[in-house]
């Protein structure tokens, strides 16, 4: 059985309990002064990595490395990941003003890190809630030539194989694959823990390595251009009908019957 060296990519996004607003120029979502936190799917990846370690014997997991590609404050997100149980982290710094990287560029950076750090399992969120691309995990698996299991709701380690339960339309699908592998997480996988105070303190002393995007073989130019960002149209209020006949005639009027 091989020892697991896990990579957990995490992203700093607008807190999902905060309502995002479009900026005045309609070019992007307003991020200044808005509360940010770890992408909820990435919390699940961190939690799952830590649980795999807790569930198995001491040598099963060699280390859990968190990585974030983002502005200076992404370091806070990495501290959170380490407070939850990751051992160390890499911060690939991107200036705040720069455009957000596209999934392919992220996947290429991750591929280099996987190879340099000798990783054999990558657990990442199935998507981030800011751009909702849902592509990075699949692209990374493709670039590495590894197996992938996306949208995991259960992950079981069995020797050098992983058994992953996936939520698909109409039910669940169980897949089994040999390490190395890429796994993306879905909401039902686990319930992330609260970082305890002692662990928050310890996380401050864990290693956080800074890197620059220029150190990677990636061009920081996006292939897609954002033309315009607008709010969804406001929801129309519903109307009241007096009785069943009223309901039926309304439905007919709308062409639903």
């Amino acid at each position: 059985m091989s020892t697991l060296r896990i990579l957990v990519p995490v992203k700093r996004v607008i807190d999902y309990a905060v309502k995002p607003r479009v900026n005045k120029a309609q070019t992007a979502v307003e991020i200044a002064g808005v509360k940010h936190s770890m992408n909820p799917f990435d919390e699940l990846s961190v939690e799952e990595s830590v649980r795999i370690r807790e569930k198995h014997t001491a040598k099963t997991v060699e280390d859990i490395l968190a990585i974030s590609i983002g502005p200076p404050k992404a370091a806070d997100t990495l501290r959170t990941a380490m407070a939850m149980g990751c051992d160390r982290s890499i911060h690939v710094e991107v200036a705040e003003k720069d455009e957000m990287l596209e999934p392919l560029q992220v996947a290429k950076v991750l591929k280099e890190v996987v190879e340099k750090e000798g990783r054999n399992l990558v657990i990442l969120g199935k998507q981030s809630i800011d751009d909702d691309s849902s592509q990075t995990g699949q692209m990374l698996a493709g670039l590495l030539g590894w197996g992938q299991a996306c949208g995991a709701s259960e992950v079981v380690l069995d020797g050098d194989h992983l058994k992953v339960t996936r939520e698909v339309d109409g039910g669940t699908e169980v897949v089994r694959g040999k390490l190395p592998m890429v796994v993306t997480t879905d909401l039902r996988l686990n319930e992330p823990r609260y970082a305890s105070l002692p662990n928050i303190m310890k996380a401050k002393k864990k290693k956080l390595e800074k890197m620059k995007l220029e150190e990677f073989q990636v061009r920081a130019e996006n292939r897609l251009k954002t033309l315009k960002v607008t709010e969804p149209p406001p929801r129309q209020g519903g109307g009241k009908v007096a009785d069943v006949d009223g309901l039926i005639s309304k439905l007919k009027e709308l062409g639903a019957l």
Partner: protein
């Protein structure tokens, strides 16, 4: 906004008091819905279970008149006639403003029963006026006809003040629910009394301001009711009492006079400060129809931390430290004892935030304008309380959702206690050095009486004796959750609790008010001279005594 509108819809459906647990689930749904239909449905299902649980405790509530035979209907009041109802129909602009026993008796039920499910009136008529003028016409008629009236907001009161005792007419402010104006420079909000607290706060949130009051019932309670009862809530420590933040009121007196005192000035020393009479008057001198209130800027850096502590002495030390190290950014310091957290865990099934159990838990919130400064202060504080072993364990919310979830362990306690049937609630102010002694003494009392069955033994009425409170305001909530309301329990508690408080010069009602539950105990906190002057005030405004009778203070 989405969750808010759902919440409001829910109120109509089934009087779910606490919207907050539902809110947590809903916001989860918000995340889920664009992603995965299956999971979204599942989440909605769990939401439905949640509200079903809120109903589950609904045993028939006994009429207050039967439960308290010593309280007699005042014979000075007339009985409602068909002519009266017809008259109200003629003065109100909309048919939907009247709910009358002849139309739909079941709809009256919600207005007659209080949230604690302890008091139930027998009103035959609910009026929902749409303007101060309509309120004026109603009250003038009632005053002339000697018809007693109960003003009602969101009906989330905890002392039976918002429901009729006998057949009083319910005057609901729910149809007066618009924001009248907001000045972004001064932060003064002017709105109708029937605006739901959470709606007002959401409106202000979009304008980077905050309503200076927050409490667990925010999804149902009305701001007018908050002012009429001088609600305290979770952030009084930071923003002060409504006596300071309310700048003016619009109120209708029993004779129909409309007092338009909607000042928007912070300073105004011109004669008696009349609005203060209405703040905390619990509907006994008039009906508040509008308020103006000073709202502070919303802090953009908010941190929430949750601790476990070994003893009340540790809690006191943590509080002293928090005041010293967090000073101006401390916006809440809430105490919850271990049993409250166990009850919340049992009723909701949520995993505990900390790995081990502790006899005391504290929830701290800081709000400031500069995230980095605040984090530095909070970190220094955390390092000290951990280093000096004042705090045994704890956690800091890493995101907004975690913060909201941690707050549930405090805000969700009233429902957790009500889960088995009901709760005897006492809301008292006690000097901090004896703050928790009340709970300990009360526990002894009940253990000796052998009435405690815990969550397992169904043969005994009492689940346990629990306490939580706003430590920052020396305000403790003593709660005795029960399976059924039992005179044996009541006789054990009263007047024992009040005598205990009187000895320590505390207050028998720190923020819930007097209502029906505490009318006869007010003398434990106020002397005869003060009560005499209060009666004179009441008689000046309401000489016929039609406003919210049988409550507040004994009139003779």
């Amino acid at each position: 906004m989405q969750s808010l509108s759902r919440t409001t819809a829910l109120r109509g459906l089934g009087r779910v008091h606490s919207t907050a647990p539902c809110r947590a689930v809903l916001s989860r749904t918000r995340l889920l819905s664009p992603l995965n239909v299956n999971t979204a449905t599942a989440s909605r299902a769990s939401f439905a279970t949640q509200s079903a649980r809120c109903y589950a405790a609904s045993k028939e509530v006994k009429f207050t008149a039967d439960n308290y035979p010593n309280v007699q209907r005042d014979s000075r009041f007339s009985k409602l006639t068909r002519e009266d109802v017809d008259h109200f129909k003629s003065i109100l602009s909309s048919q939907s403003s009247i709910i009358d026993a002849q139309d739909d008796a079941s709809e009256l039920e919600g207005f007659n029963t209080d949230w604690v499910r302890k008091y139930r009136g027998q009103s035959q008529l609910v009026l929902k006026p749409k303007s101060a003028e309509e309120v004026s016409k109603i009250l003038k008629y009632c005053n002339d006809r000697n018809l007693a009236v109960v003003p009602q907001g969101g009906n989330t009161g905890l002392v039976g003040g918002s429901v009729p005792v006998f057949d009083e007419i319910v005057l609901s402010l729910s149809a007066m629910n618009s924001i009248r104006s907001f000045d972004e420079v001064s932060g003064v909000l002017v709105c109708d009394a029937g605006v739901i607290l959470e709606s007002a706060d959401s409106y202000l949130r979009e304008r980077n301001h905050i309503f200076p009051l927050d409490l667990g019932a925010k999804g149902s309670c009305h701001v007018g009711g908050n002012v009429a009862t001088n609600a305290g809530g979770l952030r009084l420590l930071r923003y002060g009492s409504l006596h300071g933040t309310v700048l003016g009121v619009e109120a209708v007196l029993p004779d129909g006079t409309i007092l338009n005192d909607l000042q928007t000035l912070r300073k105004n020393n011109t004669g008696f400060d009349l609005k203060q009479i209405f703040i905390g008057s619990e509907g006994t001198v008039g009906v508040i129809t509008g308020i103006s209130i000073l709202c502070p800027r919303r802090s953009n850096a908010v941190n929430t931390a949750y601790f476990g502590l070994e003893s009340f002495d540790h809690v006191k030390r943590a509080f002293t430290k928090a005041k010293k190290d967090l000073g101006e950014i401390l916006s809440a310091f809430e105490l919850m004892d271990g049993l409250t957290q166990d009850l919340f865990h049992k009723t909701t099934g949520k995993p505990y935030p900390l790995a081990d159990r502790y006899p005391f838990h504290v929830l701290i919130e800081t709000s400031g304008s500069n995230g980095e400064h605040d984090s530095a202060k909070l970190e220094a504080f955390l390092e000290e309380v951990m280093g000096e072993e004042i705090v045994a364990d704890g956690t800091v919310a890493q995101d907004e959702t975690q913060a909201q979830t941690l707050w549930r362990w405090r805000e969700g306690l009233p429902e957790a206690c009500a889960h088995w049937g009901g709760t005897y609630k006492y809301d008292v102010s006690i000097p901090l050095n004896e703050f928790y002694t009340l709970i300990e003494d009360c526990r002894k009392l009940f253990d000796e009486a052998g009435l405690v069955g815990g969550t397992e033994d169904d043969s005994k009425p009492v689940i346990g004796v629990v306490g939580w409170g706003h430590m920052g305001d020396s305000n403790l909530h003593l709660n005795v959750p029960v399976r059924w309301y039992d005179k044996k329990v009541e006789n054990l508690l009263e007047p024992w609790v009040y005598e205990w408080i009187e000895k320590r010069k505390g207050s028998i009602s720190a923020e819930h008010g007097l209502g029906f539950a505490k009318r006869d105990f007010v003398q434990y906190s106020r002397d005869e001279t003060a009560l005499g002057i209060m009666r004179r005030v009441k008689n000046t405004f309401d000489p016929k005594g039609i406003m919210n009778p049988y409550k507040y203070i004994p009139m003779n």
